[in-house]
Amino acid sequence: MRALWLIGVVLFCCIGGCQKPLEVIEEARKSADSWRATLQMTLQQWIDDRVPARYVKQIFEAAQKELGKELPDVEKLPAGEEGREKVLKQTKELQEWVGKNLAKIGDADHKQRQAMLGSLP
């Protein structure tokens, strides 16, 4: 049983555990894209009056918490690594946008909601 366990650990370390720089960047890009799409969908549902403002606020807070998670791993990569700067810029822009708009959610009217969606990076 113990031997099987070790084989399992080694196997999965080889196929998935040891992340290469490109994989780190890809993960960060996917996360940023996923959160951008989440924010877009949430804002659209808010504009259509399908969800209340308090829910939009929760999504923004969750995005703020989750978006930065991959950044330390990306920042550790060498400066010239392909795609590194692009994903850092994309994630930081999104983080800034969330931080700037979080406070505006409470009293945003229909027009302001649309403007918020239009300004999503």
Partner: protein
Amino acid sequence: VNPKKFLELALGIVTSMGGFLEVGSIATAAQAGAVFGYQLIWPLALGTICLIFLVEMSGRLAAVSHHALPAAVRERFGFNFYIVPLSAETVVDFLVLTSEVGGVSLGLQILTGIDYRWWAVPSAIGVWLLLWKGNFSVIEYGVSFLGLITVVFIIAAWEMHPERGAVLRGLLPSLPGHDKVHYWFLAVSILGATISPYLFNFYSSGAIEDEWSEEDLVPNRFIATMGMSFGGLISIAVLVAAGAVLHPKNIAVDSFEQVELIVSGPLGKWGFYLFGIGVSIACLGAALELSLDGAYVYSQCFGWNWGENERAPDAARFSMVYTILIALAPIPLLLGIDPLKLTLLSMALTVVILPFIVLPFLVLMNDPKHVGEHRNGWISNGVVFFVIILAAILAVVAIPLEIFGGK
């Protein structure tokens, strides 16, 4: 056969909630649908079939032997054997109970906007009060009736008009084109979340609480099949809705709040409210089930007086066990531990202990001393044997997958 017995379907529905409609299962099914579309329906279908067989066996054991599963295992294999599953189940029950209290709180957070940690203690008190003041029927019928609200996931999936061919193809195992480790992690998590040991203990103990006898063997088959199918169907609906709403937009589920979009997208604001209420009720049902399971397992192992139908002072040690479990459950949440991370860990642990839980079925269900003439046929024995092999494989790969495939 008394036709009224078929109305005890409530026991099947409430049992299936702990397997399919708890926070971990909902999150995992949504995550699977979001990342892999309909490709991971097969572990849900496979888990449901295995669960129908195993739950039916635990009900049959209780109806014929008048012993719930923990008591029968303790009696047949002795205390020294039983101490292994008892210890493992204590850890898993506690972790999953904490996740469920977190799930009730997350549902309330989505509805009110108030952080889930503020809801952790009130939710735990609510669970305890229901157990302390209520009886088994209140829990059985109340939770299963209110739990029907989770049908909202089926309506949401239906409204999205998913491609039928693609959904049906998802019933057959297939290899992923990307994120292979994450795919297998989700497949194992789904199976781990579905074939949960506490379901068998709860169902068989519930059968004793409902005073089942050999007359109930036919209703038992119906209740196990329909109850587990209900849970399985809702879980598949969560996956299909996520596959239809989130997958095309490349949205991965990193946070439980994102899951709500799969209901409000197709159903609008009433879908939003039903999602929050549904999640809270489903997790409340699972929390009640887990608290009772802990109390059942300890009481039957040590030979204490037990039963949710007993007055709390008459089953003092039974009541003490669930009281302690519920009192401790909110602590990890208050310390800031994410209920979703906790539930993913508990699912991996569930898979690790599964072989110890399923192995006794093979002995008990073929022992005339316990089940008389109602022993397993070759199909049921084949399923148990398959689950044991599957559980052993899953036990080996679960933790490495949790480490490298969990996101």
